[in-house]
Symmetry: C2
Subunit: 165 residues, 2 copies
Amino acid sequence: MTAAPLPTAPPDLSPEERDRFYLGLAVEQARIGWDEGGVPIGAALVHRDEVLAVGRNRRVQLGSPIRHGETDCIDQAGRQPASVYRASVLYTTLSPCYMCAGTALLYDIPRIVIGENRSFQASEALLRSKGVELTVVDDAECIELMRRMMTERPEIWNEDIGEES
Amino acid sequence: MTAAPLPTAPPDLSPEERDRFYLGLAVEQARIGWDEGGVPIGAALVHRDEVLAVGRNRRVQLGSPIRHGETDCIDQAGRQPASVYRASVLYTTLSPCYMCAGTALLYDIPRIVIGENRSFQASEALLRSKGVELTVVDDAECIELMRRMMTERPEIWNEDIGEES
């Protein structure tokens, strides 16, 4: 579980500023993951302005092929009733792979805020076809983290998306 | 990790008998999960007739919303190169949800053998549209396990598929 208490957004933010704030929690997780030697992708799950959990890709750290940023975050949030997922927003630093998109579809998460989709994009058409609202922020730090990943740890990145190196 | 050594199929089986044998490993996992108080869905991942791992839904046992039978099995198999997944068959007692289907798509698993799809079916059209070969066995024990689940533990089942009770 997440060690530190989860932060709350300041009360006087605009909707765009709130998205930036929550995406910032995901970016912080991505940075931690990079510093741990892993894949720098992070996520946050937010229910009606309450942060339920943050998470990060932990393929390397835990030797796990199912712990992408989004799935790790949803796991950290624990067992939630369907009604909670259906009123939540998933923040992720990188456009979801099919596994993470499928997890959002399983739980009917209605909106995903995506840090960037230049480095990777697979599931956005599927998600939109199922009615999921996607907001792509095109965040410079998310892009830079993935640029470093693909340059400095390309074998792990390819493994993470099921590609041959 | 799986405690016992993973079994190998007898050498003289027909393709259909091999599928039955490997599906039987998934069914055994489903039974174990039921006896643990959980959701009776199991899986096995088989690469060129070598069982890489078995797994089972452990929502209840581990308090995890991402450990369906298929994802738990793929996690138990550990980090594998893309070439291994692309020559593997995933056996599962129940037709995959979107999360598990997405995991198969992420790793380009080319074939899924499904115990039954009467109790639940969500992702088969998506999987087929992406070229995944599906074989539905319509196994009586898989059906019976899910009948008991939906009758005796309906709240947990609804939670497992993101539905309101």
